[in-house]
Subunit: 356 residues, 2 copies
């Protein structure tokens, strides 16, 4: 948080601080998980919440209750269309929150489900989404323990919006958070990137590709458990959803004040994703994933963590893609295929709105 | 749950079970907190979730983690208009979830906040709502620890929808749940009913009253703590929000399979609420409250609980309004002012949509 906006909010004289001032209203980019989303939290929500806000307000909070450490995370899902190759808003709503808990090193325990339904939505459609949620929850081993349903007038929703909020338990000795990224860490990605974003985009009106790319939506806590079982000290985990790998790596670099140096040729990007992104003018590093993680691991642990990942169904294509460096703190740079170097910036808004 | 719908959902042949079959689509009444809301959970969500759903899916789940018992509750807020006499969607979003935790006898600990913002919403308006949330959270002693923001296209939201989900801790010896209502219990309400619903309705377009009724939005955990401090065995607590006192009492009566016998003359209803309800054709027992609770207390404890409530700022107008009886299990009846008896039914839908 910048010092100049950390005081209490003077509502009578409230002026959008820079850079929010450029737009006095919400634009789609504020929901993209990039710089504009960060600014909304940093310049609007955190100062407005004041002393009630916990410092950080990250993807998952860690709470100590009695002798237990709990992870606690919330996510709303507004993906459009609601059904896409490889999944639906139902699987996303379960796996998304399960993954936010897993990225804090937690074993997911229980989820709440809250629906905002638009008047006129077919009950059969809601039942299909709810069934997908049930199946995904069983698959992830979490229980749906409490819920809420609200209905809004036609024209004030988009059939089904879902919020899931989850509680997980963090075992003793596990300490996974972005602040722990340090120079020397090996940066590992668990598999092919760009699938979810391209899958959702491929079935939006007017866009057609030659092949069908399926979303990679999946619960990642099992893969994390396999990585932890090696005894390795995992420093950071993050699921690169909105804003893709670029947004996740930039956030970690900024939080830990370290540099990240990638080797572009080492990024696992399937040919059909390269082709689709080429056609659409997208960079795969900025496209959302829903079943991938990026890990920062001490160099002496990297090999055994990679081996454990390769033995897990969700990590067969895991790859080391770079290292954490003391140079250029807060920045992500990539060695290009041609031998040059480019800066991989934090995206401003989002190339693909309503992707999750 | 009825036996005939408890099996796995056959999606290919899914037909809305009765009574949902009457409407194949979502109508406003499904969000009213009455019979239709209950049917949606019982006939659609619970069977579709299948084995992943915890039995009950009540207002707050109780989880055992390590040596602690946690309450866990979620609520989305879609109230229209967002600002009304006495409060805004911001206070509601905090107090509503705090109260759901308090009704399980929990001390509220931490809340998540998730926003679905409509493109084009003024940042200044969001800042005001967020500031109201911060103030309410400080007032209730809860921390806002994690959050999420999504943006939807103009025409697919209504400026600001908020989900809050909360965690609270239940002290040893506290066992408050609807199943514990039993014949002989005294039914107590903590104060005047009908304020929130009338306040929201009073500022909807085209409706004008002589007086300004303010919403009663308030956090009730302090009042609950005062009631527990008497050492009394509180059997049931419930905050009568959507569907009002009538919906809450019917749900408790059905869950515990007991009857509830009210004395209409003993209900604390201010004259301006009676007048407004008369004008609008509403029954105050069906109008939402956001800062009131109803308690079921063993008869030997009733006097000291009432005394403790009268000493608390949020319970000065607390009153015993009836008793729990072995007759007519699952039904709520009221002795009318004229000496007759009427059935106080579970509302079907909701007289007032988008009230919270």
């Amino acid at each position: 948080m910048r010092e100049d906006v950390s005081g209490p909010v003077d509502l009578a004289n409230w002026v959008c601080p820079m850079p929010l001032r450029d737009s006095p209203t919400i634009v789609m980019g504020h929901g993209g998980g990039g710089a504009m989303s960060g600014e909304l939290v940093e310049h609007l929500f955190v100062p407005a919440f004041g002393a009630a806000a916990e410092a950080g307000m990250g993807d998952a909070a860690v709470l100590t209750v009695g002798s237990s450490r709990l992870a606690f995370s919330t996510d709303s899902f507004v993906v459009k269309p609601m059904v896409f190759p490889g999944g639906s808003i139902g699987e996303l709503a379960i796996n998304g929150t399960v993954n936010d808990l897993a990225m804090a090193g937690a074993r997911p325990l229980a989820l709440s489900t809250a629906f905002i339904l638009e008047e006129g939505t077919a009950l059969a459609e809601i039942a299909q989404i709810a069934a997908a949620m049930g199946t995904a929850a069983l698959g992830a081993g979490v229980t749906l323990v409490t819920g809420d349903t609200k209905v809004v007038d036609a024209g004030h929703g988009d059939r089904v919006y879902i919020n899931t909020t989850g509680i997980g338990v963090i075992d003793e000795g596990v300490d996974i958070r972005p602040q722990r990224a340090s120079a020397g860490d090996v940066v590992i990605v668990s598999g092919d990137i760009g699938l979810h974003g391209v899958a959702v985009l491929s079935c939006r009106e007017g866009l057609e590709f030659g092949t069908t790319v399926c979303s990679d939506t999946a619960p990642l806590h099992g893969l994390v458990a396999a990585m932890l079982a090696t005894g390795a000290d995992l420093h950071v985990l993050r699921d690169p959803t909105r804003g893709g790998l670029a947004a996740s790596l930039n956030e970690i670099a900024r939080t830990a004040k370290v540099g990240v140096a990638l080797v572009e040729n080492d990024l696992p990007i399937p040919a059909e994703i390269r082709d689709a992104c080429g056609l659409l003018g997208l960079d795969p590093m900025y496209v959302a994933n829903e079943g991938k993680l990026v890990a920062f691991v001490a160099p002496e642990d990297a090999d055994r963590v990679l081996a454990a990942m390769h033995s897990h169904p969700l990590g067969t294509r895991a790859a080391a893609i770079g290292v954490c460096v003391p140079e250029h703190p807060g920045m992500v740079v990539a060695k290009t295929a041609l031998g040059g170097t480019r800066v991989v910036d934090l995206p401003a808004g989002e190339q693909l709105p309503r992707i999750c």
